[in-house]
Symmetry: C2
Subunit: 184 residues, 2 copies
Amino acid sequence: MKVYLAGPDVFLPDALEVGRQKTEICRRHGLTGLYPLDNAVDRAADDASLQIFKANETMMDQADAIIANLTPFRGPGADAGTVYELGYMAARGKFCLGYSNDPAVYADRVRRSTKVTAQAGHLVDADGLTVEDFGHTDNLMMIHALDLYGAPLVLPREKPVDIWHDLTAFEICAALAAARLISA
Amino acid sequence: MKVYLAGPDVFLPDALEVGRQKTEICRRHGLTGLYPLDNAVDRAADDASLQIFKANETMMDQADAIIANLTPFRGPGADAGTVYELGYMAARGKFCLGYSNDPAVYADRVRRSTKVTAQAGHLVDADGLTVEDFGHTDNLMMIHALDLYGAPLVLPREKPVDIWHDLTAFEICAALAAARLISA
């Protein structure tokens, strides 16, 4: 089983090393991890970002499953590129797994950067925009895509010290993918 | 042509009125706008969020196209639910359109909330995470999905005073969908 390894990990200073660790965990579980940075793209080329898009899409099309790192990235929610890829894989009928190294519910995540108040029976932020309050960690589209097309979002009991390098939750996803492989 | 109207508009205090205006603009262009809040979901039910997911997915499956409001939401990038839906529609081969009422490039958006510096030839934020610097307004996955599967992201020349209620860029997307309908 080929697994697309989506996540903002590609933005880490040691992105290649994290990819190496993730593909090694996959290998131990009998899976082939496909990591975006394995693409040979000339990042100085004029059309570098289009090349990256096409290479990522090709990898997704080759993969049977996705493990999406939905740890909050520059705000209360997951990285946009990763979320796009989860939607893409769900629509293609692939096996969808994901984890977040921040187990806080969404309203509490929003509270870290803005005031959240109750108005007329629902929560709103300082701009008056509704704050989703279903007890999930992130937007319901991602949460239920995982529920219905793979397995519920994997969360650590407590936020690990190093949210960008702790791969415990990732390894649980790899084990879930391997279990699916055996049952298929 | 049925068009799914994705966006964080559903979180506005006047979400229903914005949906009414968007579906009216669609009607004037010969399109049928499908707005998430048109779903009859019991928001007090235990499984309300799952009902919303399923209703949104049904609307997406009925639609021929998506117009995604990718205006930054609680951070430098687009709303996660909207981005998920764009990925879903792209993978289903639907016609993909989007707009953002904030024309600032991504690096400048990130600068609003954190320090961005150049290190070893690329930009990083205060946490040392790479800041995409391809001159796009948001993550390359969304930008190129629109380029390849619909039309380039529609941006106003200047940020409108009311980014949540100005529908000029939305109407350009509706006109693009209508033009596609005539040419098809």
